[in-house]
Each structure stands twice: as C-alpha cells, then as structure tokens.
Amino acid sequence: MMAFQILINITIAIIWMFLQNSYTASSFIVGYGIGILLLLFLRRFLAFDFYMKRVWSIFKLIILFIKELSLANIDMMKIVLGPKSNLKPGIIAMPTKLETEWQITLLACLISLTPGTISMDFSDDNEIIYIHAVNAGDKEEVIRNIQKNFEQTIMEATK
C-alpha cells in the first residue's frame, strides 16, 4: 500500500517533468511535491491492494481496447458510406455485474469507443447501462458481446 502510493507519486513527478519538458532534478522535485498534494487530496479513493499482478491484465485490456477501436472505425466507415436503409438503431438496456463506480465508468468508456455502440445513461442504482446501438436488431447478441468481451477483462484488471 505504502509502496504503491510512492509509485503513484513518482509517476506524477515524471508526468510533471514531461509536461515541463525539462528533465532535471529540480522539476522532478517540484513534480514530487505536487504528487504529495494530489495524494493528500485523493487519499480516500486510493483503497486498492497491491497492483503488480494486475499490470498484465491491464495491459490485456489496453490491447483489447485498441483492437476494438480499430474495428469500430472500420465499422463506422461502412455505416457512414453505406445506404441509410441498413440502419436499425435503438436503445438497449444492458444489466451489468460490475459494482464500483470506477469499473462502470471504464465500461461506459469502452462501450462508447467500440463498434456500433455508445453508452447513454445509467439507471439510478447503477445496475443498468443504457446503450444506443446503430444495429439493435439482436438485443441479446449485443449484450452478450459486451459482457463476454469487456466485463470479464475489466473485472480481472480492477479486482
């Protein structure tokens, strides 16, 4: 826990160096100070356990994400350039098993940047995400795809 917070702190310091575009000790120290302040303000959100074993699953999530984004754009190309009559848009209610707000935010982001779907709204109890799909013909399949592809990977990455 301690080590993780130090790591976050160092990361913030390095990002600060990048933003300043000066790779000197003094900018690192300033960045480290800013990191301490940020951690101080955000400490109640930092309730995770150790992270190293999760790095791999986060990496998997990123790869999946890049793949899906590329597919999404090829898909989009077909939709934009194709005839309008192929469109069967609709809004689908998708139940989700994810619990924390952080996981649901991530899922919504992923849905938005993947083929044919954007997330639109959440139910009050955070159990249902409303999705607008360009092709909502087969509701079950849209839901199954998202649950199979994303929910499991997100759970692994943020367990």
Binding site: F18, K84, I91, D121, I128
Partner: protein, 121 residues
C-alpha cells in the same frame, strides 16, 4: 522523399480520412444519437492519428515529445464522455429518435418513473 516523410504522411492521411469520415457521418446519419457515434468514434481516431504523426515527425528529428502522448490519453478520456453527455441530455429533453429506430428501452423506464411519481403525488 525520405522514408520518415512517407511514414508521417501515411499517418496524416489516415488521420485526415477518419476526421473527414466523422464530418460526413455528422451530415449523413439521421438523428442526434447516430451522429454521436460518428462524432465520438471517427474523429477520436482521426485526432489520435494526427497526434501520432506529429509525434513521429518530432521523434525522427531527434526530439522525444511526451506531451503529445499525454494528449492522446486525454482525448481517450474525454471523447466518450462528451458523446455520452450529448446523447443523454438529448434523450432527457425528448429529442425524437430516428423513425426507423426499433427499440427504446430508456423511454420505457422514463415512463415508469413518471407514473410512479404521479402516483406518489
């Protein structure tokens, strides 16, 4: 023309193409929700490729500019959010769906909620 110029040009062309696609989608697609798809996805992709091209250009001239990579991260974080907010507020202010839309689960929930509120009051 050197190899680096060719690579950077390819990235620029892909980026420009997807930005164009996003713009075309905004015009061609029928309603605000479908347009959010085009605006949210294609233009994100386009912008990312344009930034990558800039990054590569400076990398080949010997300068590692990490600010550009951070810009990609922030585009990733903000683009889905904006399409979510646009479509969500559109639906809450009763902007009609495309008339060939085949289902609207959100509408049903809204109606149920309204009935509940009416019963309570």
């Amino acid at each position: 023309m050197s190899v680096t110029e060719v690579i950077v040009s390819i990235f620029l062309l892909i980026g420009a193409f997807f930005s164009l696609l996003g713009a075309l989608g905004l015009i061609r697609l029928p309603d605000v929700y479908n347009r959010a798809h085009a605006a949210g996805k294609s233009s994100t992709f386009g912008v990312i490729f344009l930034i990558l091209a800039t990054f590569l250009f400076f990398l080949f001239t010997g300068e590692f500019n990490a600010k550009l990579l951070l810009a990609i991260l922030f585009v990733f974080l903000t683009a889905p959010l904006s399409s979510l907010m646009v479509s969500r507020s559109a639906h809450r202010t009763d902007v009609p769906l495309y008339d060939k839309s085949i289902r609207d689960d959100l509408q049903e929930t809204h109606k149920k909620k309204e009935k509940k509120q009416q019963k309570e009051t």
